[in-house]
Each structure stands twice: as structure tokens, then as C-alpha cells.
């Protein structure tokens, strides 16, 4: 059979969003791929130039529909670097709880989306069942189920609600037990193993050169993580180690990437429990919104030419906001906001990864890199 191009997308079950992967196949074997992005480019960077620093936060929530909190936090840290803001430690702990809960929810969303890719819908429903618990907790914090607008420049919107610690512990502990169900459904399922093991190899050095970070990199057997390499928040006060996978000598395959995320959920759950124990002032006290224990003082304007950026560990890799202050001419607005999306860089690499495999491996490989098109297209 002659080679032919197949256009997978923009509406295709594999894409997890709205983009096109052009695949050149020879029989069932993939010979070449071209990713084509930009279908939901909203111009967030341009919009941000016309909003003040507070108003940008909800827009950053909307960068990723699976992990909104991490993106608004990513922006907030960069804005705090720009505006030179001191954050109360209690607020940092609350942020950590919010971000780690969001990381669990995001990984669950990923796992839920990944299993239908290789033909099992049950895991999807199970994952969303557990994700609901995380969303409940996040809703108590942020007030919404998807886009929370939780952090503020200098702190957080509100304190942990009454009884939050109790519910959070109960739900996270229940979640830790239920992870075994996924392991039984996936790790101990031969068909899942033969579909994911030995497929989509990626080596750490190659990944770093291609700009792939986060769990995808840690699947290759190195424990690099922005959270300890360039420590922010209070990660250095908690006892943890990033999840790393023992992969084969050929590099990380889809199974490793699945495994590392499953393990990272456990790490995040552990971090949440630790943070609840270690939060200054205790998890059961409640401050009114705007209390100095929650919200540091922040200027609303940045001087001309001032810059701030922050590397942040997103569930999908390292995200980066680079903000240039507007000066007097722009009022409270920034002059330029630039966003580094991890998936924007990862998708071309994932597309390269799948050359030589079968068509059936396209969703298996692409899904294992956890694409989120909201942040990719910005």
C-alpha cells in the first residue's frame, strides 16, 4: 500500500482538544507526523496587556481546563516577583494545598482521558469519580468547580473554610486507598501493559533538549523538579521527593509516564496531608478574607521596564510567566505578558516520538504526554 496522509483532528477522539495531527502512514505504520496547533488561540497575551494585574488572574485560570489553579498560581508568583510582594506563610501553605489538590485532579483527568484512548471507558468513570472529591475540596476553597480564581497577588482569596481540614483529610485518605483500584484495573491488566510498554520511547537528555519537562521527564529516571531545583512556596519545608520511574534503557515509554503520574498523585496527596499538619496557625483557625495573615500588601502598579518571571511546576511540565511592568503610561496594566506553555513544546516532541509505531499507538503515545490544548494555544 502506498503511503498516505491521515489528518487526525481537529475533531478526533485522539486529540483531547482541538488540534490536528497529520500522520503519514505506510500500511499501519507511522512514517511521518506534523502537528498543527492554534485552533483555539484566544490571544490571552494580548488580552492581558489591556487588563490590570488583578484582572489577569481569572484569565490565567482559563489557560488550562484541567488544571486551572496551577496556572493562576503560576501567574501570581511571577506577578509577585514583578511587584516585589511578601506573602504570608499561611497563605503559602494554603496555596500549596490548592495547587497539589489541583495536581491530583489534573492527573486524574489525564488518566481518565487516557484509558478510553486505549479502549477502556471504565477507568475514565472511576477517575472522574475520584476527581469529584478533589473538585469538592477545591470548590470549598475557590468557590467554583473549574476556574477558581483563588490566589491573589500577595496571598489567597480566603482561608481554609471551617471543617475543611477534616474533610480534606478524609477525602485524600480515601483517594489514596482507591488508587489501588486503578492499579488493579491497569497495572495488573495484561492488555494495558502490552499496549503501553515498549511504546513511545523518550530519553531524558533528548527530552530536555526538546524542552520536555515535568512528569514526562521524570518518567525517564531523573528526579528533576522545579519545586526543589528553584524552590518556591514552602515545598522546602515539607518532606517529599518527586516521583521517579525506573524505565528501560531505551527511555521512558507510555507505561512509565502513566506510572509516574500515578505515583505523583500519591506524592501530592502526601504533600497535602503534610501541609494541613504543618500550616502555621493550625488548619482549623479561620481568618476573614483580607486578613493580613492571608493577604500581604501589594502595589497595583509596576514601574516602567520592571520585569518578573517565575518557573512553576505545572502538572504537565515547567510553566513560565514573564511579565513586563507597564510604567505610568499603561496605568495598572502590564506592558507584556508572555506565557510558556509546557505542552506547546511537548506536542511536537510527542509527535516525533510516535514515528515508527502503529496507528493504534497514536492515541497511546500522544495521550501519555498529557496534552492540554487550552494552554497550548493560549
Amino acid at each position: 500500500m502506498a503511503e498516505m496522509w491521515i489528518s487526525m483532528g481537529p475533531q478526533h477522539p485522539m486529540t483531547h482538544g482541538l488540534w490536528t495531527l497529520k500522520v503519514k502512514i505506510d500500511g499501519e505504520t507511522i512514517v511521518d507526523t506534523i502537528p498543527d496547533l492554534g485552533y483555539i488561540h484566544r490571544g490571552v497575551e494580548k488580552i492581558c496587556e489591556a487588563r490590570d494585574f488583578t484582572q489577569i488572574t481569572p484569565y490565567c485560570d482559563r489557560l488550562c481546563y484541567a488544571s486551572a489553579n496551577t496556572w493562576s498560581h503560576s501567574y501570581i508568583y511571577a506577578a509577585e516577583n514583578l511587584l516585589e510582594v511578601e506573602v504570608p506563610e499561611r497563605a503559602e501553605y494554603i496555596r500549596l494545598i490548592a495547587v497539589e489538590l489541583q495536581r491530583i485532579a489534573s492527573h486524574l483527568m489525564w488518566l481518565g482521558a487516557y484509558c478510553p484512548d486505549i479502549g477502556n471507558l471504565t477507568a475514565f468513570v472511576y477517575c472522574l469519580r475520584e476527581r469529584e472529591m478533589m473538585l469538592d475540596l477545591l470548590q470549598e476553597l475557590g468557590g467554583s468547580r473549574m476556574h477558581y480564581n483563588f490566589p491573589r497577588i500577595g496571598g489567597v482569596k480566603r482561608d481554609l473554610p471551617h471543617g475543611f481540614a477534616m474533610r480534606c483529610r478524609a477525602k485524600v485518605k480515601l483517594f489514596l486507598e482507591r488508587i489501588h483500584e486503578y492499579e488493579a484495573l491497569l497495572d495488573e491488566s495484561t492488555i494495558f501493559l502490552i499496549r503501553t510498554q515498549g511504546v513511545g520511547y523518550a530519553k531524558p537528555e533528548e527530552m530536555v533538549n526538546h524542552g520536555v519537562t515535568g512528569p514526562n521527564l521524570r518518567a525517564g529516571g531523573v528526579n528533576y523538579d522545579v519545586r526543589w531545583a528553584h524552590p518556591y512556596s514552602v515545598y522546602d519545608e515539607l518532606d517529599w521527593i518527586p516521583s521517579v520511574e525506573r524505565s528501560s534503557v531505551k527511555g521512558a515509554d507510555c507505561y512509565d509516564r502513566y506510572r509516574v503520574r500515578l505515583d505523583e498523585m500519591k506524592t501530592s496527596a502526601d504533600l497535602v496531608l503534610q501541609a494541613l499538619d504543618g500550616i502555621p496557625g493550625g488548619a482549623d483557625t479561620y481568618h476573614e478574607p483580607g486578613d493580613p495573615a492571608l493577604l500581604g500588601k501589594a502595589p497595583s502598579r509596576a514601574s516602567d521596564g520592571q520585569t518578573g518571571f517565575h518557573h512553576f511546576e505545572d502538572p504537565r511540565g515547567e510553566s513560565l510567566f514573564y511579565i513586563v511592568g507597564g510604567g505610568d503610561a499603561r496605568g495598572k496594566n502590564p506592558y507584556r505578558v508572555s506565557i510558556r506553555s509546557p505542552m506547546f513544546i511537548t506536542i511536537p516532541y510527542a509527535a516525533k516520538c510516535m514515528i515508527g509505531y502503529k496507528i493504534a499507538d497514536v492515541p497511546a503515545i500522544m495521550g501519555s504526554f498529557d496534552p492540554c490544548i487550552g494552554e497550548t494555544d493560549r
Binding site: 492554534g38 488561540h41 490571544g43 494580548k46 488580552i47 496587556e49 489591556a50 509577585e80 516577583n81 514583578l82 516585589e84 510582594v85 511578601e86 506573602v87 531524558p204 537528555e205 530536555v208 533538549n209 526538546h210 524542552g211 520536555v212 525517564g220 529516571g221 531523573v222 528526579n223 528533576y224 523538579d225 526543589w228 531545583a229 528553584h230 524552590p231 518556591y232 512556596s233 515545598y235 522546602d236 519545608e237 515539607l238 518532606d239 517529599w240 518527586p242 521517579v244 520511574e245 525506573r246 524505565s247 528501560s248 534503557v249 527511555g251 520585569t307 518578573g308 518571571f309 517565575h310 518557573h311 513560565l320 514573564y322 506592558y335 507584556r336 508572555s338 510558556r340 513544546i345 493560549r378
Partner: protein
């Protein structure tokens, strides 16, 4: 307690890098300094380099090969019409040193390299770098591409050209990535002459294309 790269050691490693870079390139107009992030509990250091566009490629190669800067985080561009003659365009590059090597293997299985954050040192010390490249007033801004050094720079450069309009010499396969392929040549929305348009809110829905835009609205910023 906890995993953390020591701040002082990071400062020392940054200073080493700065002195090395300055010794090599100071004559050619490159300035290099240590800066600190303003926010956060730890004032973390980063290396700030101001690099003339002419030597950017050499600097990038040196950083990559000699100093082990293995990761290109972001390349972005800024249009500064106000700063016109000397810096109308600015390219900001964020690099990181991650010091990642492929782990050793035994019987076909990798032995994961768990870096102990507290004892990490020397060239393995993670670093942040910010490089600012100022391009003087021109209608065709362009700097050399570093696509071949860090493959991760590939799509960053595509995006920078697509949105800001700064071209990268030697970039293979330059094309629109975020905007439609049929976008007219020369249209780069993040350039400052393109304002966000102001609409009467009532007309917003009926006039998504802007056909009914009133003449007095054109050029208004929200």
C-alpha cells in the same frame, strides 16, 4: 527537611557562570549580572545577560557546550515602539541549567538518578538564566536562530515570529503555529500598533467580525 537547592550555593554557581561569560564576551558589548527574584521567601538568584544580537549565536553555543545550559525554557519577543531607535525590539530568552544525563542502566533497566538537592554542586547546580537581546529600530527584526542548539527553541521561535514578528535567521521550517496559516504576511498581533478594539457592548455579539465598527472606535483601547 525537604528537598531544596541551597540558595547560597546557587548564588555562587551563578557568579561562576557570570565571571566566565564576562571574561569571554565583555569586549563585545555583553553585560552580565546577578539578579534576584523580588518575591517569595527565598530571594532566588538568576543570571541576567544583556547580549547584542550579533554575538547571540556564539553566546548560545558557549552556554550550551561549555556551561552546560541544556534547556531552553522560553523565547519571547517584545515590541517597544517607545524605545525606538536603540531597542525597538527585544528578544527575551529564558534558559535553565538542569544538568540532566541519561541514567545509568543495569541489565536493560535504568537505575534512576535521584539527585540529592542538598549536596548538588558545581556544574550540576540548577540555574536560571534570562537573556535580553535588544534589536535596534528596523522593519525586519531578526536574530540568529538557536534551533540547532536546543531543539526546544524551535517552536518558541516559531511562536515569536508568528505573534511578535521577530524573525530567526537559519530557522528551518518557519511557519505560523498559533494563527491560521492564511494569515496575511506581516500581520503579527502582539506588535503594539495593533490595539485591542473597543466595542459598544451591545454590538459585540452581532459584530464579531467588526464590520459594523464605528469609525470613532477604531484605535481605542479598552
Amino acid at each position: 527537611m525537604g528537598m531544596k537547592v541551597d540558595n547560597d550555593k546557587q548564588v555562587a554557581a551563578s557568579n561562576d557562570l557570570i565571571s566566565a561569560i564576562q571574561a569571554e564576551f565583555a569586549d563585545e558589548g555583553l553585560t552580565c549580572e546577578l539578579r534576584f527574584h523580588a518575591g517569595g521567601k527565598q530571594k532566588r538568584p538568576y543570571v541576567f545577560i544583556e547580549c547584542p544580537p550579533a554575538i547571540w549565536l556564539i553566546v548560545a553555543e558557549t552556554l550550551s557546550e561549555v556551561h552546560g545550559v541544556d534547556y531552553c525554557s522560553m523565547i519571547t519577543g517584545i515590541h517597544w515602539p517607545e524605545k525606538a531607535p536603540e531597542m525597538e525590539w527585544q528578544v527575551v530568552v529564558h534558559l535553565m541549567r538542569m544538568s540532566i544525563r541519561n541514567p545509568k542502566s543495569k541489565d536493560g533497566i535504568l537505575i534512576p538518578t535521584i539527585t540529592d538537592a542538598s549536596i548538588v554542586q558545581g556544574a550540576a547546580m540548577p540555574l536560571e538564566l534570562e537573556i535580553s537581546i535588544a534589536i535596534p529600530e528596523t522593519r525586519t527584526p531578526s536574530i540568529p536562530s538557536v534551533q540547532h542548539i536546543w531543539v526546544g527553541a524551535d517552536w518558541n521561535e516559531k511562536e515569536t515570529w508568528d505573534l511578535v514578528g521577530i524573525d530567526f535567521d537559519g530557522h528551518k521550517d518557519m511557519r505560523r503555529v498559533l494563527q491560521p496559516h492564511e494569515t496575511p504576511a506581516g500581520f503579527h498581533p502582539l506588535q503594539k500598533q495593533h490595539k485591542l478594539r473597543y466595542h459598544e457592548f451591545n454590538e459585540m455579539y452581532d459584530d464579531a467580525q467588526g464590520f459594523m465598527r464605528k469609525s470613532e472606535d477604531i484605535g481605542k483601547v479598552k
